[in-house]
Subunit: 141 residues, 2 copies
Amino acid sequence: VEPIELFDLDAENLMIPSDKVAHVQVGNPLEHALLVLVKSGYSAVPVLDNSFKFKGIIGKTLILNRILGLERFEMEKLSEVKVSEVMNAEIPCLNKRDNFLTCLKTVINYPFVCVIDEEGFFEGILTRRPILKQLNKYLHV
Amino acid sequence: VEPIELFDLDAENLMIPSDKVAHVQVGNPLEHALLVLVKSGYSAVPVLDNSFKFKGIIGKTLILNRILGLERFEMEKLSEVKVSEVMNAEIPCLNKRDNFLTCLKTVINYPFVCVIDEEGFFEGILTRRPILKQLNKYLHV
Ligand SMILES: Nc1ncnc2c1ncn2[C@@H]1O[C@@H]2COP(=O)(O)O[C@H]3[C@@H](O)[C@H](n4cnc5c(N)ncnc54)O[C@@H]3COP(=O)(O)O[C@H]2[C@H]1O
Ligand SMILES: Nc1ncnc2c1ncn2[C@@H]1O[C@@H]2COP(=O)(O)O[C@H]3[C@@H](O)[C@H](n4cnc5c(N)ncnc54)O[C@@H]3COP(=O)(O)O[C@H]2[C@H]1O
């Protein structure tokens, strides 16, 4: 792998495309989101609206924090509360054309970020793993 | 940062030392582990025995998977089942003297790994974040 090839990579080359990404809808109850998370095995996934636009991220931590009462986990809240009330909407996003260094900088603080187009439509996710793999390859030549 | 400095770093320079790592004991019930995970905010943490030796890793995914029944999350199982019955003991470990490239290779597939000494005593954890930070620094000179 020539050094120049690393810096030529962009978010689109590195991302998991939207059709392979587990996600939930902004209007789902937490119960549905928690089942998606437990069955997919992921700690957090993107939240989209019904026109496939990016709205935020939801994870087990946020859900469990929300239902933890003074004495127990209040499981009944899972069907009462919506994903929109709990999700993290303050997460940075990338564009398909963002270069490798921009992707690297962004995943320093986030296990994954969403890749969206100019109108906010969800295109995929950029995770730490392919960044680490490419860097490992780059350092071994 | 001179290139040579990156390759001189070892696991000890990069790791979070044991006194700063949230962990649980191998004999704890899942209920205690889940509370530690929710309050610390971490998706998974190390499992130690009472002599501070590394035994495995426990996370929200493993716990929630274990208590998910056919119709509901069976919360009563949280006080009946022990961490030892659910934890993942098949996780690779590092030694303090392992070099940067060994650390990088290991975190490709794991968000963190434990650093242990020759007798298996827990010394700290090696996470993806400092690896990504160092690589970002290295690529910017
Ligand atoms: N089914 C599986 N098979 C093999 N390895 C697995 C795995 N599930 C998790 N891992 C490993 O564990 C890391 C952390 O996963 P986590 O679910 O906490 O955190 C994940 C998850 O929140 C999200 N993610 C990854 N792939 C996803 C997908 N297809 N759909 C939705 N979210 C995804 O991106 C985060 C970072 O992923 P990354 O690959 O860098 O890092 C992953 C990967 O190295
Ligand atoms: N309180 C906090 N403040 C700021 N950022 C936070 C944070 N909690 C999580 N993050 C961010 O989210 C990433 C994933 O955290 P997670 O808990 O899934 O996965 C964590 C967790 O399972 C474990 N971990 C990290 N620090 C720990 C600690 N002090 N004690 C126990 N486990 C720890 O290592 C994994 C990878 O950590 P890494 O730092 O590479 O990556 C962290 C970090 O970038």
